[in-house]
């Protein structure tokens, strides 16, 4: 695998966003994943989402661990700052980076192996710390990069390519995240760009930890019959229940929503996430109700998709709890950090 730069020639008629940038300027290096890999569709969704809400490329920090999924940070927004760290430890890098500069957009890309096995601890603790970041798990039920071993998200009864049947219960990142108090929890499917793009936009704008678990079939190791993470199975068994629309601050809500079906969650910058419920008996803004609803459906073999839970958690966001200043820590002048010689002299009295 080598680095394949894409020619960046944009046609003058290509649409431009508020920054005057075209979609091409949100692309990255050419993907080296298998043709048809779900991860590439997610990459396309991220490009579309970032372009759509006019994120300055240099303000986007792209973090990942190790895996096919984690490679994709190189395939979008080449003008952003990428950090491909070590297996399962991306959340800690994200935490440190975010602590240093609260003003940037942080997007973490991980796999089900990266987040639910080796990195389960860091994943959980990033949620507990409510790090302001969008965390996407590109979930294919296998370790793609090491050639198809079951991951911790593999369902009971799912079959490996060579016929082995998984007997261990799966870890569902959506239920886990809700359980740990995440305020923005979504599930989607790599093949549903219309659902995915607004979710990514809302997740990037959400002021706290936002999780999107995206079913992303591995065409090479887990797309056969008997797999519960194949394209065919996903199309059949995944059910959208709450669609999200992201509405930027300046814009009016123009779409007409039928009575009782739409709730909107106001974000700190004045933008809004409008939740369109496709099921009337479900309140996605209530943490307990969301959890019960999703869990009951899983028990019946139904996988709900969409923004399954969204509530404001600004008060518990990392910087809010730590009372850090609005100015990023990495930009404070040295004079604000160094107490000076006289202060040291005074301190010495304590040690005599």
């Amino acid at each position: 695998m080598t680095f394949i730069p894409k020619p960046k020639i944009s046609h003058p008629s290509l649409p431009r966003n508020e920054l005057g940038l075209t979609r091409r300027e949100y692309e990255g290096a050419l993907s080296t994943l298998c043709a048809g890999c779900g991860h590439d569709s997610i990459t396309a969704g991220i490009i579309e989402a970032c372009w759509g809400i006019s994120i300055r490329p240099e303000n986007l920090v792209k973090l990942s661990g190790i895996g096919c999924s984690s490679k994709t940070t190189a395939y979008f927004v080449s003008g952003g700052h990428g950090f491909n760290s070590v297996h399962g430890r991306m959340p800690s890098i994200a935490m440190g980076a975010n602590a240093a500069n609260r003003e940037l957009y942080y997007i973490g890309i991980s796999g089900d192996g990266d987040s639910l096995s080796i990195g389960l601890g860091q994943f959980c603790h990033a949620i507990r710390r409510n790090v302001n970041m969008l965390y996407i798990i590109e979930n294919n039920g296998v370790y793609g990069l090491t050639k198809g071993q079951f991951s911790a998200s593999a369902d009971i009864g799912t079959k490996a390519k060579k016929g082995e049947v998984n007997q261990q219960p799966p870890i569902d990142p959506v239920l886990l995240a809700m359980n740990l108090g995440a305020g923005f929890v979504a599930r989607s499917f790599s093949g549903d760009k219309a659902q995915l793009v607004p979710l990514i936009q809302a997740g990037l704008k959400y002021p706290g930890f936002a999780l999107i678990d995206v079913l992303s079939p591995c065409v090479t190791f887990n797309d056969h019959e008997g797999s519960t993470k194949s394209y065919a199975f996903t199309r059949e068994n995944y059910e959208p229940v709450v669609e999200a629309d992201f509405v930027p601050k300046q814009r009016e809500i123009t779409t007409e929503y039928p009575e009782g079906e739409a709730t909107s969650v106001l974000l700190h910058d004045g933008s809004r996430v409008v939740l369109r419920k496709l099921a009337a008996d479900y309140d996605p803004t209530d943490a307990h109700a969301s959890y019960d609803y999703v869990q009951q459906h899983i028990a019946q073999g139904e996988y709900l998709t969409g923004l399954l839970h969204c509530r404001p958690t600004t008060a518990t966001e990392f910087h809010a709890l730590n009372r850090t200043p609005d100015q990023p820590l990495n930009q404070l002048p040295f004079s604000a950090l160094n107490p000076g010689a006289r202060q040291l002299e005074k301190l010495m009295a304590r040690y005599r």
């Binding site: 695998m1 080598t2 680095f3 290096a29 300055r56 490329p57 240099e58 303000n59 920090v61 940070t73 190189a74 080449s78 003008g79 952003g80 700052h81 990428g82 950090f83 491909n84 760290s85 070590v86 430890r89 959340p91 800690s92 890098i93 994200a94 935490m95 440190g96 980076a97 602590a99 240093a100 500069n101 003003e103 940037l104 601890g121 860091q122 959980c124 603790h125 710390r129 910087h319 730590n322 009372r323 850090t324 200043p325 820590l329 990495n330 404070l332 040295f334 604000a336 950090l337 160094n338 107490p339 000076g340 010689a341 202060q343 040291l344 002299e345 301190l347 010495m348 040690y351 005599r352």
Partner: protein
Amino acid sequence: MGTDDRINDFAIKIATVNGTGSASANTLLMKSIFRSGIPVMGKNYFPSNIQGLPTWYEIRVSKDGYVARSGKVDIMVCMNAETYARDVREVAAGGYLIYDSTWPRPALLKRDDVTVIGVPLARMCNEHFKGVRTRILMKNICYAGVLAALLDLDLERIRELLAETYAKKPALVDSNMQAIQLGYDYAREHFSCPLPLRVARMDKTGGHIMIDGNTAAALGCVYAGATVAAWYPITPSTSLMDAFKSFADKLRIDPQTGKANFAFIQAEDELAAIGMVLGANWNGARSFTATSGPGVSLMGEFLGLGYYAELPAVLFDVQRVGPSTGMPTRTQQCDLLAAAYASHGDTKHVCLYPANPEECFYMAVQAFDLAERLQTPVLVLLDLDIGMNDWMCRDLKWDDSYQPDRGKVLGKEDLEKIDKFYRYLDKDEDGITYRTFPGVHPKGAYFTRGSGHTQLGTYTEDSAEYQLVLDRLLRKFATAKRHMPKPVIEGTGTAKAAIVSIGSCDGAVHEALDVLKGRGVQLDYMRIRAFPFGEEVEKFLADHEVLYVVEQNRDAQLRSLLTLESRVGKSKLRSLLHYSGLPVSSKFIVDGVLADLGEGRRAVAGVVS
């Protein structure tokens, strides 16, 4: 003054049970001696336990300013029945034994070469104080009173110290003082006070403080401008982070807004702690962690990423006894190799080796400068002895003209001027490349990875491209040698033999050198302060025929590092290895050198007589 008088030159060891308040009694004794102007050392040998296990405290009073263990105990205070037998054995002939005579202790009668001083501490405290807990605590304060009488300590000084300690609870000053007085009066009534071993005022502690290395290092982090601290608790490093937090809570709160100009993160484990530190440094904040051996092991993978992706980071390794969990509350220098080569692959790290708390402060600041200048993790190796014991050292000083060395960072204006930025291109040919921070300028974007990369910052599996970067990292390490703190070299420079040592051995080596000189053995001395080793280290090694390498581990790790990373011949290096878990004593070094020299081989050391 009698002929046997030994003023300001003796060691006291106090055996107690942990969790019984003996720590305050011991600190009180040590500080009152310090405030009388007499150089003093205090070392705590405590168990990895919260309550109920044996603990010892050693106080050495040294008019000559020796800050290490002498290896000899002149006065033993036996407050722990469980360790009685061995404590009694440890007192030097002609020494003193103080015990609680509330209960008879037939075993102690076996030593008739020491003076036995029985004080009914428990009985007196039971008569004077109420409540089980108070009685236990006061019993310990009471022995401090006994010692005050025996050693001729100034009671006013003790009261003054108590008043400072309990400024917010004045009632405790009186009850503590009462306990002191009980012991004091009993001793004066029943024994001839003071003893020939005693203290007398000096003026040798002016401009000095008593501080532990963890506190000093934490203060260094505050002064260096560190803003992100991430850690996972582990003895003996925890107090470094606690100290940082408490300094930052006072010194780093914006007076106008009440906001905290720092982030303090208790991570879920050491992997996460170092990950956070790397992430924060990558993003332009000075960030650090503190840990001990087990944590360093866990941080290995990330440290390799830091080395290869060239991320600054500062890590304090407060070494404790290994292998494995080892003895968490005992001291060793056993991570020298693990730190230098932490992580798989061709990885090596810049290490600093402070010898005392004073150096911890300055080296902490230097560590941040080096980490950013060299864009690599810097490991500062303290040990439990430096980190957790109070050492007498010179006042810490700050130069307000200091500006942090952020190294080669391209800012907005720099990026504006250049055509294209390549993260790993060696423009200055010193092995150090330029970096940028996110959000500064569109031209500053690059991709950080621990996988194979080219000098342009792109992914590669091409051998030549890969090697180009790997070889440049070696050049960077060569550049690093020029930035490292130089070794401290002492002696006449004419001796054929020398001691080479590191870190907390320094105090014991200094005393040993004096003792050896007194016995006609003149040795030079080099204390190594950093890895990679520079030319000064090479020269010193080359200039001596025999080099005694004094270090506190079993496997001669410093010697190994020297043979691997300098030109010195292995056969010249003779090891003196101390790894009991207690700080090395001067006696150990003296005995080791003399045993090796033997009578016939003294010529090597350039013996005068």
